[in-house]
Symmetry: C2
Subunit: 161 residues, 2 copies
């Protein structure tokens, strides 16, 4: 399993938008999820902290939901950036998305103590609205399926910063 994320979209966000508790590189207390292309799919990897448990031995569902959430917005940003002719690292500021809806089906308990990996398939459903189907694996075991509808960040958000 590929475990290293290079050219993450979150590395490209301007500082004003890098504070997300899930994926902001400037949020010292956050999870620092980082999302990149892996072929035609997207990937985010994370190793839950010891306290991120539902019960001892199993990962807390809210952490999986958070991973799916940020994986969805990051994947959508990657996809629209590519549609616009750009890739992380080329110096062009990427678009930013917010989450419209988040859905997670928990298929089986997710074992704690190993890396978990979100793999996404991105689809444009509207120029400003993208759907990301997500599978979450622990080792090679599929533990959850998710779907995120991500929306290009509206001006109201931008103006408020």
């Amino acid at each position: 399993m590929e475990e290293k994320v290079v050219n993450a979209i979150q590395d490209e966000y301007p500082d004003d938008f890098a504070w997300c508790y899930g994926c902001g590189r400037l949020n010292e207390e956050g999870h620092h999820f980082r999302t990149s292309w892996q072929g035609e799919q997207t990937v985010t990897v994370y190793t839950p902290k010891p306290e991120h448990m539902a019960l001892p031995g199993f990962v807390y569902g809210g952490i999986i939901g958070s991973l799916v959430d940020c994986h969805g917005t990051g994947s959508s940003a990657l996809a629209l950036h590519r549609k616009n002719g750009h890739e992380p690292g080329d110096g062009v500021e990427p678009p930013r998305f917010v989450t419209g809806s988040l859905k997670v089906d928990f298929l089986k308990p997710t074992p704690h103590g190993t890396l978990i990996k979100a793999v996404g398939t991105v689809q444009e459903i509207h120029p400003k609205k993208w759907k990301v189907n997500v599978e979450v694996f622990a080792e090679d075991s599929l533990c959850a399926r998710g779907e995120v509808i991500a929306v290009v960040m509206p001006d109201t958000f931008l103006k408020s910063v």
Copy 2:
């Protein structure tokens, strides 16, 4: 708005099941969500920490998802406990639920710096499967809607502890 949660279902879980990062009273690093009846509905309140932001000024969606998740399992436990003739505080151990699915629609950005409140309506859809419709408010503003399908904790979970 009622802000104090008394007779929370999470206070009744046996120690072995009190480690959830979202709602376990024994998880020192966790959110300590606590869920109780409020009339025929259920309520969980939480004040996000400073770092729980999406952008400065707005709450991170993953925290809202986590609140909805634990509110769903806690509400289901309250409802089945009541169906069985019991209320928190009467000394009888309540049932425990796990999350089958989680869905959150983000209706508007949730302002940071105030208490947020999940209000739930619980419905039995199978003796071991309950549905909780959730509304999340910041002050009096409805910011998100959620739905949780919660399932009575299977023996596989119990045996693993």
